[in-house]
Every structure is written in structure tokens, then in C-alpha cells.
Amino acid sequence: MLAQAPHPRSLDSKVIPLSTSDDAIVQGLVSGEPWAADALYERYAPAIERILRRTLGHERHTELADLLHDVFVEAIGSAHRLRDSVALLAWLQRIAVHTAYRAMRRRKARSWLWFLQPEDLPEIAHEDPDPEVRQACAAFYRALARLPARQELVFSLRYVEGMEVAQIALASGASLSTVKRQLALAEARFTKLAERDPALSSYMTEGTRWTR
């Protein structure tokens, strides 16, 4: 059977003791065990990738892999600051949310430099066969990108990632009242933008049109 605990290996060896707890992973990271980084990634990469993709929109973010890499590099490098392994996922989420926020700010700061507008860039391959859905998704993130970065973040965390307001406050490090205020502003602004966008307006007035 698979070993229940890490056993000595050469540095190149990539054996992951899958049965280790979060606590063992954190201890392993702190003491620089090579398997711990692998175990952390294997366990939490899907959840973190999802947050980044959903908040930033994969069709508009060709650097998603870089950002996912950033999150884990930061997590692995700063594991010694994590006091309680119970909070491992929340801690990773916080790093992911800050990484997404930085990416949003960077994108806005650079927008005047692009030769092509982001929406004119070639699309990333998408398995969704319905062009209407794809158009609406692109329009959704296009409208979102017009909000200030803080509002873009809280809106996408609330409505796409499905986080509660308290969770957003925890993950973003902002106070509950700040998150509520930013969210209200984002909702009002996004609704106006969506109502003016032909790809989104019907969803705002008629409710769901997607049958999938």
C-alpha cells in the first residue's frame, strides 16, 4: 500500500504521500520537504485555478497559468507565516484573490499600451459549442473590466465564484462594510453596462436564456 507518511527520497524524486493531512503539508512546507509543495498543489490547484479563472475570465486572460504559478510560489515561499493549518484553503484563497486583484490592476494600467483591444485579441480555444453563450460570456467579462478593479473583484467573487459577502471580506482583507459598499456600486454599474450591451441586455430583462 501507499506509504502513509513521507519517506526519504532523493531530491529529484516526486513521490507525493497523498494521505497526508493539511497539517503535515504545512509542516512539510515549513521544513522545506520537496513532497509538500507537490501535495499542496495536487490538493488545492483545482480550487485556486477556478477562483482565478472565474474572477478574471479565461477568454480574456492568457496569463492564467502565470497567475496560478504565482499563487503557489507565494504560498510555498510564505508557508512559515501560516500558523493554523485548518485555515490552509482560506489562506490560499486570500493569496489567489490578491493575485487576481493585482492582475486586474495591471491590466487596467496597461490598457492604453495595447495595439489591440482585449476583446479583439484572438480567442482562446473554447469547448462550448454555443456561440451565443460564448458571446454573452465575453460581454460579461468585458463589462466587468470596465469597473474599477476593487469592484470588479468583489462582483466576480460574489456572482461568479458564488462567495458570500463575509467570505469575500475574509479573502480580500477588506472590511465587511467596504465589501458591501463596493458590491452595491459594482451591481449598479454592471447593470447599466449590461443593459446597454446587446449580448447581455436580454439576460438582464428576461432572465435566463441559456438552456444548458
Binding site: 524524486s13 516526486k14 509543495a37 477556478r50 497559468a65 499600451l113 469547448e127 460574489r158 456572482y159 438582464m204
Partner: protein, 398 residues
């Protein structure tokens, strides 16, 4: 709930589902996994465009000045690093029985030191170095350069190199010298050889000296056909300069489990490919586990699958084998229905197992948007309300 918020929530969920179904997630995760495993733990630098433009101009200016200096340069001696730390000459580097080390020289040459080996860089020049293999095995890959001048000492033997790739071994106790040429050619000199002997690509040399230093054995055979294939048995012997027929002590070839243990994953896979499926069937349980992990992480999912299935069918190992088969099917082979069956099998075999939370989470993820997915999400939230997939499970039930 405020109708506007309800509508926004509905719209957001549709966007989320469309995003989840885009099929990009596993590609991104796999790409980053490889990057992290390749040692990419430093953050990629992102420089703003104006700064980049300024840096570009500065680099051009510096490049022009550097080129002018280069025209009449005096070449500096090479330098080398050992696992990213700078190395020094006249100091032996050693590996323990579970360790490998790689020396990177500034001209691009590398020397991979195998477990239980010792090496010393005696001297560095502008065109090469003199390296002594005191004990053990090493693979050298010398950058081809007409001016290159590399010398390797293995016990009393002397190997002169210009640009090539070869395996070198020296056993100071048995006084056995081995050399397998994968690319290029080298010249060998030593106590059993009357003169310098040229060894070419595809050739394998093994010389066993007696305890008193007299030549007792010298033999040469065909070397491996591919650079990743270890040298073969010395069954077809050809006479070297001193050719007393002698017993074959053992080939340079290392068995695949040993290669895996020493971190030479690619070489181990190549050996397995050459040996065929029977090699997997003959392997012990722990060796199959090692292979399953290495193949899964080394981009050989079918090999991992074969090892895991052998563990299940031959040794009756349940539970974790099912979980890993599910992971391989979902993450690497893109066979979601099969992955669902394997994760369900894991939960049936080890309902309270250490991977139950992950298995159930993966079922939620793989069945998102279906009734089964909702059922799995409900079960997940009931069993793991604070679990890693809780937020995702909630989003499916809204």
C-alpha cells in the same frame, strides 16, 4: 432576494458553468504543475512596457560596447554551479545513496553525478576543465565546440573529450572502469591500454584491473543505441588493446527501479519501454507504486495506469489505486466517465479513507451540471461542510 440580485446571481452562475466547461482548467493546472516541478519556484518577473522599452535601449547600448570589447577579449576560465550554488575546484563533491547532483558549467556542459559517487573539479580553463571521478557513476554532456578541451580522470584512466555525451563509471574497490558513448567520440588512455584508444558513438568499454593494478580484463561491446538507453550486457565482446577474456561482472545498465530511485525518470521509462509490459508484471509492489507515482507525475499516464492496474489485479491492492486511476483518467487522459467510475470505486472500497473527501469533491466537479452532480454536491456538503470543494458544491446547488 432582490430580483436584480437574483438575476445577477443567475447570470454569474451561467458564466461560471460556461467557464468550467471550457476545458482549459486541466491544461492550465498541468502546465503549472510541470513548471513548479521543473524547479520554477521563483515568480516570473513582469516588467511594465515603458520600463521594458528603456531596458531594451540600454541593452542595445551595452551590447554594442560589449561586442567591441569581445573582439579583443581574453577568455575567462569557465565557472560551474552545483544545484544552483557556485562550486570551487579542489573540493570533492559527494552524493549519498539516495541523491543525485548536477554540475552546470558556464559553457553549457553538464555533469550528472549518480548516487554514491564522488567527483572533484581539478582545474578550470577558458575552453574546458579537468574533472576527476573518484568513485561512482556520472553522465557528462559536453557542449560541442572546436576549441573545447575537457579531460576526465576515472581512477588511473584518462578520457579526453571535445564535445560528446557519455556515461563514465569508476569503482575504486573492484578497480573497474566503464565508459558508454552516447554521442561523439572520446580518447581513452590508461594502464591496460598500450596507447590512446578512440571510443566512438555506440561503443561501450569496460576494463577491470586486478588488485595490484595489472590489467586483468578489457572488453568492448556495442553501446546503447539511444542516449537514454543504458549500456547493454557485455555479451558480445570485442578485444581491446589488452584482451584477456574474463567474466562479465555486470553491465553499466541500471535496472529501471534503481533509475527511478535515483531520480532518472526518463531513463527509467525508456528502459521500461524497451523491456516491454512483462517488466511491469515482474516488478514488486513497492516498485509498482514508485512507477505509478513517477509515471503520473512524469507525463506518462498510460504507464501509471498499467502499474496501478497491475497492483489491483495481481496484488489485490484496493482503495488508493482506484483513486489514482481516477486522477489519471480525469487529469491526464481526459476520460471523465472512467474517472467518475474510479472515484466511485474508491468511495465504495474506502468510504472513510483518507482520500474520501477528495474523491467526493472530484465527483462533484466531474458531474457538475447534472443531477448526479447535485446529488454528489449535497452529499459532499453533508460530509465536509468546510471542505475544499464546499464553495463549488454550494454554487451547484444554488
Amino acid at each position: 432576494m432582490d430580483p436584480l440580485k437574483a438575476r445577477l446571481l443567475e447570470l454569474g452562475q451561467k458564466v461560471a458553468r460556461s467557464s468550467d466547461e471550457s476545458g482549459q482548467a486541466q491544461t492550465t493546472i498541468g502546465k503549472v504543475r510541470e513548471r513548479l516541478r521543473a524547479g520554477g519556484v521563483s515568480r516570473p518577473s513582469r516588467i511594465s512596457m515603458p520600463v521594458l522599452a528603456s531596458l531594451g535601449l540600454a541593452a542595445l547600448a551595452i551590447g554594442a560596447v560589449a561586442f567591441a570589447f569581445w573582439q579583443g577579449r581574453t577568455r575567462e576560465p569557465l565557472t560551474f554551479t552545483v544545484e544552483a550554488r557556485s562550486g570551487t575546484t579542489e573540493r570533492a563533491l559527494q552524493t549519498n545513496e539516495l541523491e543525485t547532483k548536477r554540475l552546470h558549467f558556464s559553457d553549457g556542459t553538464t555533469l550528472s553525478l549518480q548516487p554514491s559517487s564522488r567527483v572533484e573539479v581539478h582545474a578550470l580553463t577558458a575552453s574546458g576543465a579537468t574533472v576527476g571521478l573518484l568513485e561512482g557513476r556520472a553522465r557528462a554532456s559536453v557542449e560541442p565546440d572546436a576549441d573545447a578541451h575537457w579531460e576526465f580522470l576515472a581512477g588511473p584512466f584518462f578520457v579526453q573529450v571535445t564535445g560528446t555525451e557519455f556515461d563514465l563509471a569508476w569503482d575504486p574497490v573492484g578497480r573497474v572502469f566503464e565508459l558508454a558513448l552516447h554521442e561523439g567520440s572520446v580518447e581513452v588512455a590508461g594502464p591496460s591500454l598500450k596507447s590512446k584508444r578512440r571510443v566512438r558513438q555506440g561503443e561501450y568499454v569496460r576494463i577491470a584491473l586486478g588488485p595490484e593494478g595489472g590489467a586483468r580484463v578489457a572488453e568492448r561491446a556495442e553501446a546503447p543505441s539511444g542516449r537514454n538507453e543504458p549500456a547493454p550486457d557485455t555479451r558480445t565482446q570485442a578485444q581491446a588493446d589488452v584482451g584477456t577474456p574474463a567474466k562479465v561482472v555486470g553491465p553499466l545498465e541500471t535496472a529501471w527501479p534503481e533509475l527511478l530511485r535515483s531520480g532518472q525518470r526518463r531513463e527509467a521509462f525508456a528502459t521500461l519501454d524497451r523491456m516491454g509490459p512483462s517488466a511491469i508484471e515482474r516488478a514488486s509492489g513497492p516498485e509498482l507504486w514508485d512507477l505509478a507515482h513517477a509515471a503520473r507525475l512524469g507525463g506518462r499516464p498510460k504507464l501509471a495506469e498499467q502499474a496501478l492496474l497491475t497492483l489491483r489485479q495481481r496484488d489485490g491492492v484496493r482503495g488508493q489505486t482506484a483513486f489514482l486511476l481516477g486522477k489519471v483518467a480525469a487529469d491526464q487522459l481526459n476520460r471523465a466517465p472512467e474517472a467518475i467510475t474510479w472515484f466511485q470505486t474508491y468511495l465504495a472500497e474506502a468510504p472513510q479513507g483518507p482520500l474520501a473527501e477528495q474523491a467526493l469533491g472530484r465527483l462533484v466537479e466531474l458531474q457538475a451540471g447534472t443531477r448526479a452532480g447535485k446529488r454528489a454536491a449535497k452529499e459532499y456538503l453533508a460530509r465536509y461542510p468546510e471542505g475544499a470543494y464546499a464553495s463549488f458544491a454550494h454554487s451547484l446547488l444554488r
